[in-house]
Amino acid sequence: MLKAEETKNRLKNLLKDPLLLFTILVIFASIAIFILFPLFKVFAVSLTDRAGNFSMDAYQSALQNRYMRQGFFNSLLVAGLTALFGMLVGYLFAYTVNRTDIPLKGFFRTVAVLPIVFPPFIGALSFIMLFGFNGLITAGIFGYRNFPVYGLWGLMIVQVVSFFPVAFITLDGVIGTISPTLEDAAFNLGANRFQAFRKVILPMSIPGIASTMLVLFIESLADFGNPLILAGSKFPVLSVQAYLQITGMYDTRGGAALAIWLLLPSIIVFILQKYWVGKKKYITVTGKPTTSVLKSVNKPVKWILFAGCMFFAVFILTIYATIFWGAFVKAWGMNNTLTLENFKYVFDVGLGAILDTLTIALTSTPISALLGMVIAFLLVRKVFPGRKLLEFSSLLSFAVPGTVIGIGYILAFNNPPFLLTGTLAILVFNFVFRYMPVGIQSGVALLNQVDPAIEEAAYTLGADNRQVFSRVTLPLIVPAFFSALVFAFVRAMTAISAAIFLVSARWNLVTVQILSQSDSGRLSEACAFSVILIAMILMFIFLLKLFLKNRISLSQNQVV
């Protein structure tokens, strides 16, 4: 009875604020249309036959096909290995820069986040140029042409390079906040250095390690560009098979069924990460500043760690340097004379794609970041029916592999009332809703640290919801907004897995160009495209930083 009156009062209040009500409804509607509806379509199509009746045929034929079954296990295998090794490399960097006094720390930190701004599959391209049939190192130096770049190990190594920054940033945060005084306490109680590491630092970083591995697992599973270049026909993986099923065999049902197989492990791991591991954190941040000299490792170990970091740093830099070099030579591996012809070719053939890519990225980025902030504000500060559902579904698109989303979009937006195929809008919507979760998460994290009384004060001074958001909340979470902006821009510029289904003759992307160039063996041209792409990304970050006077750092633009 009493509760009923309170609910009535609450609803009355919501109705008195039409803007808030409207915003919530629009957000729910757009999440339903642009995240849930495509997923539903994938399920629906995979479960019907040609006549439109319910049928498990698509799953059955996928199961019967040994090649498809192999793809499923291969995907999980690569994802598992990438998660393990990516975490290890990330931990090596994070531990070394936080717990030793080695020189060149700034250099290592930069190298460890560098792969974020590069299109992920550039690693694969470069890997072939270094170790492939005409590889600079294998063939050029050692004269060995059959180095096994294609398949499990090649793919895994490239994915580790592409995705370990995620591990580094998370673990850097974890290890960086473990107070050195805890180690002091362990030493004081008689532990040696190894015991202090094993009994204090390692157990305290377990939640970070687990969370990192799950995120890497999702990233690797969803990866499309690297396996397309590197997996090869002997090592099928799901994301590529689903794509080939649709674009090569015109079998939408089979593609959708494979997409579901790809989706399920991702969702399971995502839920594990969010609701199980994500909750376990050791808070060691206290008000007192802790000053302690770093003494976690002895001299030999310190230099071993330094050597390990240096090895990976050089490897990573070589990978990216190869791209730059490749862009300026005539024909990689055969004619290494320097030239600018590749760039001339890029501007002749690909100017349209470059401009399209910029247009799409610059349109989707601000919408994505702003929407992320609005949703973060609603999630943290407002009570309304369906809040949990909104949180889950808006973060969901982080867990859904791009391939699945791409297939979902072509299935969902091919017919009226949502006929969007071939338009700019379909790409923009796709990017907005795929890259929004990072904005939401960093917005939520930052807003949780902001005293709610500050916004309440604004209300009591006469501000309505819109004014509170624009005059108080947004200025307070502006770092999250700009890191969301950078993240969304970088991702939009380097996107491939979903986008490859959505590009058309009218709207094309540089990433798709890079793939098709390298597919037809024009490696130097692919490199030139990559260099242009990287230049645009760096230019955007540079301009934004200039604008913000260095108010945010690259390491902030990650999942918190």
Binding site: A457, Y459, G462
Partner: protein, 359 residues
């Protein structure tokens, strides 16, 4: 502006259970009054304040501002302003911009805004600091900005949510005098939440003592301290001794109480409604007892267990014949001799200071 809380009730449901945060709160607040909600943490005082502000929606009951029902109005349309424990200044705005924040939303013209802002900054004693950012101010200065920011809106009711608890003890004392001075100067109806009884005593017209969501007593600081209606209020405000007994007679508020455990008969005061034969407690404040007899009608004896010399006073702990402990305090000890532990003393107290409440 007058403020009425008409049988307000707030129930929170959490973890399957329900907690009554505020239970049947009724109070009329007259224009210009400063009413303090006082009670231990979790007593519902902050929830009540947030219901007035509009941040919480009552489960039942109404909030009336100047006889207008505002229960369903959002905070920004209530003409109620709030000063927060954490100051809650806008960190990205200067002092000037903080104070002008609400005026700007009202679209006040620039000249008038400037003038009001200046006037308010002077009232709270922040002249010359207008261009500072909040993080360049001390805690006390920040709270002055918060006060100015609220006052400049000329709200119908000003709410204070433990505004001084983040300040150090000295500053707290001077700030509460300052708040009272400004409140009386602008004659603004105020509701003030605190758990600090000294703070409540020193600034309030009316104190509402709350416990577990319920109002325990409403009264002036004097009434609350000297004439508590129940053991909770007596115990929560100041230090107290209770003697348990039976009311033998009540003649228009003059009470005779038999205390069998000490074989005493005490003459005190009580509310006229107390029934003869009822079980009662005699409320005795430590400072009402003295070794000097003069015109004090009542007395009791006890053995000194220990004492603490505090400079301006000495606090005793006595063991009464029935084994109970009893607190007493004497002032200006330098003039007298310090007590001796283990010694029996006889202490006297007057009829006025023996207040009898129902047990």
């Amino acid at each position: 502006m007058s403020l009425v809380l008409n049988h307000v009730r707030k129930v929170f449901s959490a973890y399957g259970g329900e907690t009554v945060a505020v239970d049947d709160f009724y109070q009329e607040i007259q224009p210009g009054q400063l009413v303090t909600l006082l009670g231990p943490s979790g007593c519902g005082k902050t929830t009540t304040l947030r219901i007035i502000a509009g941040f919480e929606i009552p489960t039942s009951g109404r909030v009336l501002l100047e006889e207008k029902d505002v229960t369903n109005l959002p905070p920004n349309r209530r003409n109620v302003s709030m000063v927060f424990q954490s100051y809650a200044l806008f960190p990205h705005l200067s002092v000037r911009e903080n104070v002008a924040f609400g005026l700007k939303l009202k679209k006040m013209n620039r000249g008038k805004m400037q003038q009001k802002m200046q006037q308010m900054v002077e009232l709270v004693g922040l002249k010359g600091l207008e261009n500072r950012r909040p993080d360049q101010l001390s805690g006390g200065q920040q709270q002055r900005v918060a006060l100015a920011r609220s006052l400049v809106m000329e709200p119908g009711v000003l709410l204070f949510d433990e505004p001084l608890s983040n300040l150090d003890a000295k500053l707290r004392e001077s700030m509460r005098l300052e708040i009272r001075r400004i409140q009386q100067e602008v004659q603004i109806t105020s509701v003030y939440v605190t758990h600090d009884q000294v703070e409540a005593m020193s600034i309030s017209d009316i104190i509402v003592v709350m416990n577990q969501g319920k109002i325990m007593q409403i009264g002036s600081p004097y009434e609350i301290y000297a004439r508590p209606q129940n053991a909770f209020v007596a115990d929560f405000i100041g230090r107290v001794n209770f003697l348990e007994g039976k009311l033998t007679s009540n003649q228009n508020g003059v009470a005779h109480v038999a205390v069998p455990s000490l074989d005493l008969s005490i003459v005190g005061h009580c509310s006229p409604g107390l029934q003869e034969g009822q079980a009662v407690k005699v409320v005795l404040r430590p400072e009402s007892l003295s070794e000097e007899k003069r015109s004090r009608e009542n007395s009791l004896t006890g053995k000194i267990e220990k004492f603490v010399f505090l400079g301006s006073s000495v606090e005793y702990e006595l063991r009464l014949p029935d084994g109970e402990l009893f607190n007493a305090v004497t002032f200006n000890p330098v003039e007298q001799k310090l007590p001796t532990v283990g010694k029996d003393v006889q202490l006297h107290f007057s009829t006025q200071s023996a207040w009898v409440i129902p047990a």
